[in-house]
């Protein structure tokens, strides 16, 4: 188990290095420059050259790469060339809002996904099952921005139950902590629901599918033959069997939730990571681009690894198979 973990870790670091190096050379090869930020550049080319020198962009690309890599290994992600402050602080302010949004969305995704999936599997081919499956397909097929819109239209405009955007109301910082939390939750409900529902369609389909598979398995039929209660069969045996593919899907959907929250972040004026990354790409803010790529890649790797571990913990056969397979 330990050697499996170590090997995976090694592979992950290698993967991270490959991705970041590729991003480094691609973004530097992309025409454009951090000094081209403004629509009306009054800068002369001499002034722009001076700026490039200050930020070290005039050095050979390989030298810049080595310098960047050395610093990054030490944990120094550099200074934003647009905001003139440490990248860690630029990203730091955006991490919590994004995690708050993605976390709440995940909770909704899990709740709705399992509810729909389990209910559908239990009422297989009955009207409820069909209705839930159609609904899942619709959640799954509709673009996130469309759902966002409908949510705002119905719950913020037609019935003004929730605010249409932002993370806090104007003046919320002067409220007592409890009222502030309530203000935050009110702002969180719409975007988190939209995001959670959009992803729940897929989860519901997988839960239903793997549950039906599990219910058809030999040991379930045996359990049933032994006279175990349906609830016990479902809760202990079937769900456990069904969980492992579902966990795979979840692991993949968490990074997707984090990056997918971008559209929601913008529709609902949510100050998160997606926006930071997009602005950095448009502004060619190289250090911020690289750091946000690294963050995204680490998330993908960590959740994939977590999924494999959970998968192995739930299903011993997988663990053996994984250990046997030489994963570099």
């Amino acid at each position: 188990m330990l050697s499996f973990l170590l090997r995976r870790l090694g592979a992950s670091i290698l993967l991270l290095w490959l991705v970041l190096s590729a991003v480094f050379f691609i973004v530097h090869a992309t025409p454009g420059d951090p000094s081209h930020l403004i629509e009306d550049p009054r800068m002369t080319s001499a002034e722009r050259a001076n700026l490039r020198r200050i930020y070290g962009l005039d050095r050979p690309l390989v030298e810049q790469y080595v310098l960047w890599l050395k610093a990054a290994v030490r944990g120094d992600w550099g200074i934003s060339m647009v905001q003139n402050r440490p990248v860690a602080r630029v990203l730091g302010g955006a991490i919590l809002p994004t995690f708050a949004l993605a976390g709440s969305a995940l909770a909704i995704q899990l709740g709705v996904g399992f509810l729909f999936g389990v209910a559908g599997a239990l009422r297989r081919d009955r009207p409820l099952d069909h209705a839930l499956r159609v609904l899942s397909l619709i959640f799954f097929s509709l673009p996130v921005f469309w759902l966002s819109l409908m949510a705002i239209l119905v719950f913020a405009v037609h019935w003004p139950l929730f605010p249409a955007g932002g993370m806090f109301s104007i003046g919320a910082e002067s409220l007592p902590p409890l009222a502030r939390a309530r203000d935050l939750i009110a702002h969180l409900i719409l975007p988190a629901s939209v995001l959670g529902l959009a992803f729940s369609g897929q989860l519901a389909r997988y839960v239903r599918g793997s549950l039906l598979d599990a219910l058809g398995q030999e040991h379930i039929r045996m359990a049933r033959a032994r006279g175990l209660s349906e609830r016990r069969i479902l809760g202990v045996h079937a769900l456990r069997y069904a969980l492992s593919p579902v966990i795979q899907i979840l692991a993949l959907s968490i990074p997707a939730l984090l990056s997918g929250s971008l559209i929601t972040e913008v529709v609902f004026s949510w100050p998160g990571l997606g926006r930071v990354g997009f602005d950095a790409a448009i502004g060619r803010d190289y250090p911020v681009i690289l750091a946000s790529t690294a963050l995204a890649a680490v998330l993908v790797i960590v959740f994939n690894l977590a999924a494999d571990l959970a998968h192995a913990a739930i299903d011993p056969r997988v663990r053996d198979a994984q250990a046997a397979r030489a994963t570099p």
Partner: protein
């Protein structure tokens, strides 16, 4: 899940896709007008669905009018509340009652006075071609890499699949911006971007399928008979792996249509004036408050297309292997 119901899903999906395909193929015959004709934007622009305007033919082109009245001297035309008088000699399509021609906008017009129905029909053409090409190329590339990894095994497998992982972790946004900046925007570039961003999923599914199939009796038997991998791949592996891969392809095509819409916003979509559903939405976005119809109809078209591709994917999945839905995508 019964066979009958699933093929129903497949049938509905295929019927819808067939309909879209037919519209795309028959665009020149179905579209009432030239999709790029900008006829008199001052009067013809931003007209809601169902508007009919009189079309007055002049020597240097056309004038549109809310209404025309025949007078002894010629013609009185109402143009957005203003009345102009034209002499008999100026108007080339004069009749006893008014003018011989009219323009009808069943789905309304955009700000340049272009007919949205015609643009939607021609847009189906561009969007389907892009989806088809992208899917075919991503399928080919993914299948090739996935098969190579599965059959090569060992180092080759490791290198290829780690590359796929790296590309999956690579942010599409930078790829899009880099390609957009390095090359002149064109249709081919749109396809290249979509393929580069989407082939990895196919590769993973293809590899997973073939790794499993490779150990099955019929493959081992063929190996035992001394057949080479290429022959086995062609005769046994490919046909057996194709089902799940086709499912992947249907979903990919749906995703492609959505992403093309988004590319238009970054300036990397289909370049104007040619209509694609994506750039039609982009053009309509600033006008939603004054002309909701511009972005709404292509948006609906995209929704129908994506849902029908998902239906096909579902149908295929259950047809090829009901158990696949639990594993194919992981």
């Amino acid at each position: 899940m019964s066979e009958r119901q699933m093929s129903g899903t497949l049938r509905v999906g295929l019927a819808l896709i067939g309909l879209i395909g037919t519209i795309a193929l028959a665009a020149p015959w179905l579209a009432p007008y030239d999709p790029n004709e900008q006829l008199d934007p001052a009067v013809g622009g931003l007209r809601p669905p169902g508007t009919r305007l009189a079309a007055v033919k002049l020597r240097e082109g056309w004038l549109l009018a809310d209404g025309v009245r025949r007078t002894p001297e010629g013609l009185e035309v109402d143009r957005r509340g203003r009345t102009d008088r034209l002499a008999t000699a100026e108007v080339l399509n004069l009749t006893a009652e008014g003018v011989a021609d009219s323009r009808y906008f069943p789905l309304g017009s955009d700000r340049f006075g272009r007919d949205l129905l015609s643009r939607l029909i021609y847009g189906a053409r561009v969007s389907s071609v892009i989806a088809l090409l992208t899917t075919a190329l991503a399928l080919t590339l993914g299948l090739a890499v996935g098969s190579l990894a599965a059959l090569g095994g060992g180092m080759l497998d490791a290198v290829l699949m780690r590359t796929v992982d790296a590309l999956l972790a690579f942010p599409d946004l930078f790829l899009v911006i880099a390609l957009a900046a390095l090359f002149r925007p064109s249709d081919a570039l749109v396809v290249v971007v979509l393929v580069l961003a989407n082939w990895m999923g196919v590769a993973r599914v293809a590899r997973a399928q073939i790794v499993t199939l490779k150990e099955r009796e019929f493959v081992l038997a063929a190996r035992g008979m001394g057949r080479g991998w290429l022959g086995i791949w062609w005769d046994h592996l490919l046909p057996n792996a194709f089902g799940p891969i086709l499912v992947q392809a249907a979903l990919l095509a749906g995703a492609t249509i959505l992403i093309e819409a988004v590319l238009s916003f970054l300036g990397l979509g289909i370049q104007p004036p040619r209509p694609s559903w994506g750039n039609m939405i982009a053009e309509g976005q600033n006008l939603l408050s004054s002309a909701w119809w511009i972005a709404t109809f292509p948006g609906l078209a995209i929704c129908v297309a994506v849902i029908s591709l998902h239906l096909v994917g579902d149908g295929l999945r259950d047809r090829f292997d009901p158990r696949l839905r639990t594993t194919a995508d992981s």
